[in-house]
Subunit: 154 residues, 2 copies
DNA sequence: TTTCCTTCGGCACACCAATACGCATCTTCC
DNA sequence: GGAAGATGCGTATTGGTGTGCCGAAGGAAA
């Protein structure tokens, strides 16, 4: 699917305000409400718009710690990786996880309330992950940037 | 602000579907539409709900690379840090950035279309960051988990 | 226990937005 | 030049939003 200027404007607007009323969105991008809605539905249909979510304020919910964990596995077999990944996907505490090239096999980020909470997560979630050889945690002192909007150039 | 069971249900639902109609949200959590709307507005008011956004599909937009970059600065003075952080915040390509305890001073994640695009970002954005002593990039092969929903226990 | 007060949910209504549909317009390709 | 497809506009209808008001539940004080 090819995106024209209007599609990008729609996407940019929705990336900034996912709950904007269609009428307002239409005005902002310079389309009629019906035309705008049709484009928006099309973007949802093909999956370019994945979903709409509310982003909560971590700090106000008492989550003051972000921790990165680099993980090396005991092996690289398909089965070892799949087991590990399934377990990661099941844990609601793990916010991000990537399979990596380079030193570590995986890097993941999780958010905790405080050191005691991190210990809980470490014990109940991280230590339960299968096939882990080595784990190295790095603590974030402060988030500088957290962006969900993908730049659409032009 | 204290959150009861209903607030948490509202937040969980909105974290999964930020564009749900208030009437449907109300039915889902077992409230009348008006009561539900009032709670939702209150959660927005105090900032527990930060904002609503559309999440786009990176892959469908041609962004196939996620890169983590660990950065050490030339110094730790307030000014060095602030200059660096301002520059990071200005760059729309940097998706996340954290001030870290431990080896590196900062860790950041960015998304690129391909190696050529990464080179562009490296040249036009990363290399322009002030006060950088050392940079170490790690490439992600595949995202395993990407979550925006904060767990609200119970 | 009674009274007052506060908090919170439900109800109803007025208004406004979403959505489907028909028609007009523009483009593209034979 | 004409037909087909895509896309925009205006409108009518459906349905959701948001507000004012009432009443119920819970707590505090006499």
């Amino acid at each position: 699917m090819k995106l024209d200027r209007l599609d990008k404007k729609i996407l940019d607007t929705l990336q900034a305000d996912g709950r904007i009323a269609n009428a307002d969105l239409a005005e902002k991008v310079g389309l009629s409400a019906s035309a705008c809605l049709r484009r928006m539905r099309a973007l949802e249909e093909v999956g370019i718009i994945d979903k709409y979510v509310a982003l909560l304020n971590q700090k106000k919910l008492g989550r003051h710690m972000d921790v990165f964990v680099e993980i090396s596995l005991t092996g690289q077999s398909k089965e070892t990786l799949e087991n590990f990944e399934r377990a990661v996907a099941r844990s609601g505490e793990i916010m991000e996880c990537f399979l990596m090239a380079g030193d570590a096999d995986y890097i993941l980020r999780l958010s905790a309330r405080d050191p005691i909470d991190f210990e809980r997560i470490h014990r109940d979630h991280l230590a339960q992950l299968p096939g882990v050889l080595r784990m190295k945690s790095s603590f974030a002192i402060r988030p500088i940037v957290r962006r969900t909007a993908i730049p659409l150039e032009d």
